[in-house]
């Protein structure tokens, strides 16, 4: 019997352009200048960072721009111990949800300059930006977040922040 054919190669590649949209464009232009721009929902008043152009809760357009501080509070986190291809940071490292001051929706980012076991919910952190020459309209213009050294936000308040999004 002849050998079974077990594989055929059919390479496929397509190129796409991307439209960030009005809200995300405002956010990306801001971040290239070390500014974080959120948008407030006119109905529930939640502030979204990055803004998507609509309130995911109310389904209405957001338009009021809100300046967000580059500081915030960790609401949850995980310690990454498993190395994988293309990993940019050495294990173990911490990936965290951070509610920035002035925002209601957390963003995800890296936590550095602190031992993984010291990271905790309620920890206050601040953005560390890339050098001026490397600033671009991308979230990678923030290298990572690091502890500010401020006292933690009490656990109950962190929980209230998370539940407040309901």
């Amino acid at each position: 019997m002849s050998d079974p054919i077990t594989k055929i190669a059919t390479p496929i590649s397509l190129d796409y352009s991307y439209t960030p949209g009005r809200a995300v464009s405002r956010f990306l232009r801001g971040i290239a200048q070390r500014k974080i721009v959120g948008e407030r929902c006119p109905e529930c008043t939640n502030v979204y960072v990055p803004p998507k152009g609509a309130c995911a809760r109310c389904g209405v357009a957001t338009s009021e721009e809100v300046q967000i501080k580059p500081t915030g509070t960790i609401t949850t986190y995980c310690v990454v111990n498993v190395p994988f291809t293309g990993q940019a940071v050495e294990c173990p490292y911490v990936s965290a949800s951070i509610v920035l001051d002035g925002a209601d929706i957390p963003i995800m980012h890296l936590i550095q300059e602190v031992a993984a076991e010291e990271v905790r919910m309620g920890m206050r952190v601040e953005a560390v930006w890339v050098d001026e020459s490397e600033m671009k309209p991308t979230v990678e213009s923030i290298k990572y977040f690091r502890p500010t050294g401020e006292p933690d936000v009490p656990f109950e308040e962190v929980i209230a922040t998370i539940e407040g999004a309901d």
Partner: protein, 351 residues
Amino acid sequence: MRDVAVISFSQAPSVRRESDLNEVEMIVPVVTEAVERSGIDRKDIGFTVSGSCDYLAGQPFAFVMGLDAIGAWPPIRESHVEMDGAWALYEAWVRLQHGDVDSALVYCFGKSSLGELRDVLSLQLDPYYLAPLWPDSVSLAALQARSLLDGSDHTELDMAEVAARSRRDARDNPNAQVTGDTDPNDLLNEPYIADPLRKHDCAPISDGAAAIVLAAGDLAREKCERPAWIKAIDHRIDAHSLGARDLKKAPSARIAAEAVGAVKDGFDVAEIHAPFTHQELILRDEFGLSDKTRINPSGGALAANPMMVAGLTRIGEAATRVMDSSADRALAHATSGPCLQQNLVCVLEGN
């Protein structure tokens, strides 16, 4: 069967390239308008379903982003089809037959401009032996057009007349993209882009979005002065392999039309989703439509063809003419896949 009707419709203007707004920003205004026109509070909508295609955006699960435009809080009953919104409407119609909810929001969106559309559409073909050859959508349609021209009495002038009529009618459609007053004989002087297709034979590449609200029984009567009742709806598919089909015919369209009792005249209006001129000729034959029926008063897909949207728009345009009393009985059709592979037919009536 439970009585279900279209009670509102909204669409975004079709444009060649929407480079300012993202999908969510395109959807918000049409969903907001369709819901407002329905008179039903958004929180009272019983079921939400969307139609879109991740291959258009080039992102997996791109359709999930669309939910940001809906306000899915508290969590809603929701579904999605990776198809034109007309098939999302079909799912909504089936869902309303369950009887436990009385209204449904159907929305769809498509930015055809983000990739090379004729190549993107190649990926809906058989992935092993056909898609790797990249037969593009216009060339495949040209195969079908040649098959029709050589196998029937239809001519290239018939095709040009479809294009000229569509553009002329589209002048009254503020959402249309290709409009104008042209002489079909002049169009025949234009060069071929994929013989026997000329530019006017092909629908434009369009970005757009649309939304419809359906309501059942008394809710439809309460919220809408003259609901466009869905008297019957059916969809059928032909074989996937193009070689297995007689391309000059669309048997799936005929069977769907027979299933809804539509293979006879008696329609005031027919909105037919034919992205190529020769496809309208095929579909008119399959549906048995004569000159008594006004075909594509909106200009049809030849005037505006946002992928995943143009089919639902046919239902919306037909329903609008029933709701505003300019038609009593309307036929709406949507197609999907290469060379009219899949077809949905819907009969709408005012009484």
